[in-house]
Every structure is written in structure tokens, then in C-alpha cells.
Subunit: 256 residues, 4 copies
């Protein structure tokens, strides 16, 4: 039977994830927790206009009622696209139930990170601030080429919309993966560019460019689905998206 998913968060990213999950036959979206009370008890398939017989009930519960939710509508995995506070709400239930967790929250406080690490002793827990397949593939492939050719020159370039002031977090992770000084990242800011990242390897007579382009900020759906499928069945521990991708790199045979 398809694993039952409980989703926290129903903002832009949450909706994109719900869309992909509902369109996939490999999972069953059991419910979605959102903060606002609007649309309470409606169903996500109906709201998003997707033809699906998965329940996807929209739930707006207070903290004290989460325990009830997990009892009445049990799930096999929790996917969290809400906010830092989400963790505290479901932590006791997933620990007790041994329920795996996929968290795509960008920033956790030091305290919350402590809780995550602690929780990962009891359940398989994936935390990835950028849960897209593309970026995580780029991270791993770049790391590999860096090791194959440590003498090649490398540059990291990122492009974003004009208002984005700081260097992109993804670019920083790419830079770290290839031992490139974060302060040398070339940041291009122009117009409404959603996001482009390039790791360039310069050889004497050839160049390799690994490029990731974001089309919309909703690129998380397929990554979340991938994480759900491959985290289930893993032993307890703290995982990154790169960890889940590792088997595909390790062999030329299909792991799928």
C-alpha cells in the first residue's frame, strides 16, 4: 500500500509539494496541517483542482490536538514545509511512533537543531534546506569532479533577482563542496531572475559547466517525493538529500 503522508505547511511550497504528491500514485496524502482556519476540513485535491481520491484533508489544529490527529489519522511519514515552529508540534508523536520525517525548513535555531539531532537517534530524519533533486545532484557531481581533477580551476557563479542582497545559500553550499572561497562567488543581480547556479571547471583545453536553473520557487515537489520514497525503510539517523542520492552515484546499475 502506498505510504500515508502527513504534510505540515500549505504555503506556496507546500501547495507545490501537495500537487506532486497527489499526482503520484506512489504515495497517499492523508492530511495537510495549516495554520489558518480558512478551508478547515476541505480537501486539498478539491482545492487544487486535482483529480485524486486521496483524502488530503486540510486540518487546522491547536498544538494540544496534534496527538489526536496522529491517533485518528495515522501516517507513515511526516513532510514538513511549514516553519521552524512546526517541529515542536509533531516531535513527541513522531518519536513515539517511530515515524520518519522529511524537513525542508531553511533555518532552525540552535535549540531546534539540537532537537533534530536528538530525534534522529529514534527515527530516520532528512533535513535539507534545498530539497530539489537538481541542486543536490549538482552538489554531489561537483564534489566528485573536484576530486577527480583537483588541479582544475573552479568558479561558482549565481544569478538572482535584483532585490536579493546576500549571496545565495545554495551557492555557498556549492562553493564548500568544491573548496572554493565563499567570498569569491560571483553574484549577478538583475531583474526578475528566479535563480541560476553554475559550477565551472576550467581545464587547459576544455571547460565543464554544471548549471542549475530554477523556473519557479515551487521546485520542491519532486524532491520531496524522492525523499519520501527513499527515506522510508532507512535506519534511524540524520540524512541529507545528498546521502539519499549516493546509491545512484555508487553504481552504474539502477537502484530505483
Amino acid at each position: 500500500m502506498a505510504p500515508r503522508i502527513g504534510l505540515f505547511g500549505f504555503g506556496k511550497a507546500g501547495r507545490a509539494v501537495a500537487t506532486i504528491l497527489l499526482n503520484s500514485k506512489e504515495t497517499r496524502l492523508e492530511w495537510v496541517v495549516r495554520r489558518s482556519h480558512r478551508m478547515e476540513h476541505r480537501s486539498v485535491p478539491e482545492y487544487l483542482g486535482i483529480d485524486s481520491d486521496e483524502p488530503g484533508t486540510i486540518i487546522s489544529v491547536e498544538a494540544e490536538e496534534y496527538r489526536q490527529l496522529f491517533q485518528r489519522r495515522p501516517v507513515d511519514i511526516v513532510v514538513d514545509f511549514s516553519s521552524e515552529e512546526g517541529l515542536g508540534e509533531y516531535l513527541p508523536m513522531v518519536r513515539e511512533g517511530g515515524i520518519p520525517v522529511v524537513s525542508a525548513i531553511s533555518h532552525y535555531s540552535a535549540e531546534a537543531i539540537g532537537q533534530l539531532v536528538d530525534l534522529s537517534r529514534s527515527v530516520p530524519l532528512l533535513w535539507s534546506p534545498n530539497i530539489t533533486l537538481g541542486v543536490n545532484f549538482l552538489l554531489r557531481a561537483s564534489r566528485i569532479l573536484r576530486k577527480i581533477a583537483p588541479w582544475a580551476d573552479v568558479e561558482v557563479v549565481e544569478e538572482h533577482f535584483r532585490e536579493k542582497r546576500e549571496v545565495s545559500g545554495t551557492a555557498k553550499r556549492l562553493a564548500e563542496a568544491v573548496d572554493y572561497p565563499v567570498e569569491q562567488i560571483k553574484s549577478i543581480r538583475a531583474g526578475g531572475i528566479i535563480g541560476k547556479h553554475e559550477v565551472l571547471f576550467g581545464f587547459p583545453f576544455q571547460t565543464v559547466r554544471l548549471i542549475h536553473e530554477s523556473i519557479s520557487r515551487e521546485a520542491f515537489g519532486n524532491g520531496a517525493l524522492f525523499a519520501v520514497k527513499h527515506l522510508l525503510g532507512k535506519p534511524a539517523g540524520l540524512y541529507s538529500m545528498e546521502d539519499l542520492l549516493e546509491p545512484w552515484f555508487a553504481t552504474s546499475e539502477s537502484v530505483g
Copy 2:
């Protein structure tokens, strides 16, 4: 001690390879066999203006004298950038001596391929028509992403100089690696473009592009050096460049 190399071929590619080998402290270029009798017994470092104390003697021998050459000036590995006929000249000596061979010859006759396969039972033998690190990295990385995301769309695009009529062989290999119909490869022909290959993966909200650009047709040096280092010590067998790259993909640790 640095492994001693015997190089066959001193055309454009052969010279580029000799340059990289002489600049590397990890190998010792013992001699170079060329067809023409010009510059007989001069040294390659002197000819190319490279400051090196490796001998790199230029040798122009007739077929019958090759046996003498291998006896008087023994080498630990043979690198072949000559032509299809080269194989026949050194085959008996490398088989008897158990000397590994790196061959970058583009096309072998069916008969010669039979000899290669036969030889590979006695010595480690790498044959790669495109021995660049970049293209072989692209091949393997593309193959992996295809398996991670078989539902993603893929396109293969190549650009070359106007006179190149046929679809590039490298593009065909890339297409095969990602199960893309060779006849759908997009071939762009314009001006003097040396060579550009792109494998594009299209996701619903993101795009990944793996791009290789050739700067000159002499991109083989570093690839040959890599092949030499990593073929030495391998058991007898027929290897591709991708095979040699595999350990780097299999682990996130340095294999060095």
C-alpha cells in the same frame, strides 16, 4: 619512482600529451615513436621548449626494431596516439612484457578490435576514442541523473564548426547514456566552433544542464595522464575512461 612512459604518435594530439606528461612530476616520458625520420634522436623537451630532465627521446624505428627499443629503453606503460597501425607494431612486446596500454585511437578495424580484446586478457588495456576527463565525466554524470530522475525530460545538443557534416560521435555516446534517440540530437553548425556538448534535463520547475566545451583539439593531455596513473596496478582487462572514473563516483571520499 615515476612510471616510465613510451608514447606512440607525435602529431598535434601527441604533442599536447607529451607537453602535459613532461610538465607532470608523476610520470617520466622515456621516448616518443614517430613515423617521420625528422628530428631523430632529438629530445621532446628540447623540441617543445619545456624545462624537464626527462629523456623523451624521439625515435623513428622500423617495425623490426621495436623489439630492440623495448629491450634497451624499457617502459612501464605504453600510450598510443598514433594510428590504427600502431597497435601491430608494439603488440608482441607489451603482451610479453605485461605492459599496460592506453590507446586513444578513434577507429580500429574489426580485426584490430579482436586483437585488442585478446590482448586485454594479458594486460590492463584502456581504449577510449575520447580520452578527455570532461566528456567522460559528463557521460557518467548524465547516466546517473537519468537513473535518479527517469521521468525528467532530456535533450542532447551539440555545436560544431560548419564543415562538420555528421552528428558528433561524442553526442551519440551521450545520447546512448541517457536513452535519448540518436536521431533527435540537435546539431548546430556555425562558423569555427570547436565543439560544445550539452545534456539538458528538464524538470517541472527546474532545469539541469551538463555542458562540455572544447577549447582546442588538444584536450587529451590531462585525460591521458589520468589514464596512465589509474591503469597502472589494475588487473588485466579492457577498460574505458568511465571505468577509471567509477571509484570517484562511488564514494564521497578521495580516492586519489
Copy 3:
């Protein structure tokens, strides 16, 4: 005083245009005609959450009431992002009032095109199926480079989302501008790519690429604003976006 604009159409494109117009101090959005009766008489600034004191009243009128609208709330120019039928609704009023028209409708019937041509004898009328500045700049710049270097090789490449079956109309116009056979356009289809067009010029030792990337299908706002500003004051006639861009190409001085 800023010219008063009457906008027909309030779909995705219409809203993007309204946003740019409201954020510009160079125009005054007087009203917007939409088909649906929802939000009748609300204001666009309020609806879109834009801080502006321009009226931008949302109007849902039946055909017979358009005459009243033009009388009570006169405008200096009409911008049409509605549909083919829009033309018939306002045609008598703009002809009588000598009011310039900017139409961004993709396809008109042969009959409607006849009406357009006829109307253009009375008023300045711009019709552009792709009213973006970027694409029209590319068109003109490509045409020029083609004439400067007719012996250079040229290729036209376009990328779009997988579901787009036919060759893009913009690519066809680019191809015509550089005398490139439409049937040789390289069409790449992958994932969710919004739209990318490239005109590549290949010289023996250099390459020039003119590239346009669409970020969202709402790129029409700045183009429409540009068209409004530069169509006002022109003599009656049928104009293209390229026509309006011509003065900037003709001189190195600012025309603005």
C-alpha cells in the same frame, strides 16, 4: 499631464500590465474593462495591493454601454490585452475619437485584420503579438547583424516546456528576420522551461549569441508601457514594436 489609459483585458497578462502601469508615474490607468462581473467598480490598485492614487476602476460593461464609458471617462490611449472580440467593442469610439490603440492580441481573424488596417488610416495603431522589449530588440539586432555579416553562419534555437508541440511563433519571426529556414529551427522541449530563444552567429574565430529568456508569461508590462509612451503623438498608421524601437538604433544619442 500623464496620458490616461483604458485597458481591455484583466487576465494574467492584463494584470501584469496593470501592475507596471500603476507603478509608473508616466501614465494614469483610468479604467480596466473585464468580461466577468466580479469585482465590478472596485479599483485595480486596491485589488492588486498597489499604493497608487490612479483610479483604475474595474468596469464590466455590455457592448452597448462602451460608448457611455468613453464619454464619461475619456482616455488618451487604449491598450488591448483581451481577446480577438475586444476590437469590435471599442473600434467605433477610438476611430471617432482619434484615440491611439496598442493591441497585444496574438491572433486576429482575416476579417479583424482588415478592420485593423482600416482603423490604422485614422489612428496610430500598434499591433504586436509579442509586445516584450526583449524579443523585439532581439529581432532588430539580429536583422542588423545578419546584414553586417551576411557570410556568417546563423542558427535559431528555442527551448520551451514539454507540452508545447509546435515551433514557437517568436522563433519563426526571428528566423525570418535572419533569412533562416523556419524548418531548421532547433526546438528543445523539456520540463517546465518558460521560453528561451537564441540567435547564434558563427564566425570563423568567434561566436555571437543573442539570447532572450522569459521568466514568466507576464513579461508584457514594460513593453506595453513603452508602446504607450512612444505611440502617442505618432501619425496615423500601423506600427510594430520594431518600428517604435527604430529611433534608438538610428542614433547613438538618447531619444527617450
Copy 4:
């Protein structure tokens, strides 16, 4: 009759220029002045292996003999790919003969620039440190788009081989053309990249990229041929390549 050309300089760039000139039926390469006495009086077609009946005699003269050369083998235009000192050698003869000059010398001393300006009162004189069609087209097209859309964001990015320490001179000129601070140019240095320049225009919902890629450092031939053809017949004055390109931008009709 095809205009007769006297070429100064027979280094890499000079040879590339001679090749293009000899392959063109629109000009006649009369002679080439080189510093070295090697190959004196041989012909360039023979030396470069080009099938041409143009003389292209290789001349190695001392300064005092230049007067004789211009008398015995008169030319209609001088093309200078030699070095700063070249100017002094032919200056008296071109002034007296009213012979147009195309100079592609990168750097002149202040004194030499004074001489150039003075000479340009007597003859049409084109001076362009980067005489390629591609770069000069990019300069002018960028300048125009900047004026069409002064509110668009702009970025200038250049890529070169690792050893190139300073920001590229071409990138600086592009930056000046679009009012972009030279110190914000993004300079990428990796491997053996010959040279890539990009002017990126960022709009809210679209991006325009004007890209020039150098394939080899010999891209000057077609630019020089273009300069020769279009400088002949011009009144005395100091011209840039952009000046010669202007007529193509000014009209949509062919000027050629």
C-alpha cells in the same frame, strides 16, 4: 579593381588577417612588411598554402627604404597589425599619398596618439584595439538597449584563462557603453578559456543576454576586411569600428 592592401605585421594576428584577405576577392594583398629577414621576398599565399594569384610579397625593409616601397608597389590602404613603432615607419608616406589607414594596435603612447589624431586630419584613419565584428556589434547593440531600457538592470561578465590577471579591456569598454561600474565587472578565470564576454539585461519578467565568445586569438581577419571595405571612400577623420557599423543600425535596409 580590388583595392591594393599593404599589411604591416606578420605575427599570429597578421597571418590570420592575411589569410582572410587572400581568400577574399574584394581586396588584393600587395605586400606584407615584417621585421624579421626570414622569408624575404617569398609570397604569403605560398607560405600559408593558399591558392591565390595576389602577390602578397613578404618585405623586410629598413625604415629608410619604406619610401621606395610605397613608390614601387603603391597601395590603396594600409592595414597595421604590427606594433606601436609601425606608425612612425609609414606615417610620412600615407599622409603625402592620402592613403587610408586601419590600425589594430592595442596601445599607443601619448605621443603616438597625438600623431594619429594629427594624421586623421589628412586621411581616413580607423583605430580599433579590438577590430572584431562581434565585439563591436556587441558594444553598439548594448549601448542601444541601455538607452531603450535605462531602468533595466545590467551586468557585465567576462571569462578568460587563469593567467589573465587584469580585467579584460573589452569588458571595460562594454561596461562604459552601458554605464556599468568597471569595478563591478565579474571576472571569471579558469583553465584555458580564450575569451567570453556577456552583457546581461535583467527585466522583471525576462532577460536578454548578448554574448561574444572568442574561438581563437585570430578573430581579426573579417573585421579588418570589413574595415578596409568601409573606410575607403570616407572623408578624412578618426573612426572607430562602431562608427563604421553605424549605417547598418540606422536603417533596416541593406547598406552593404
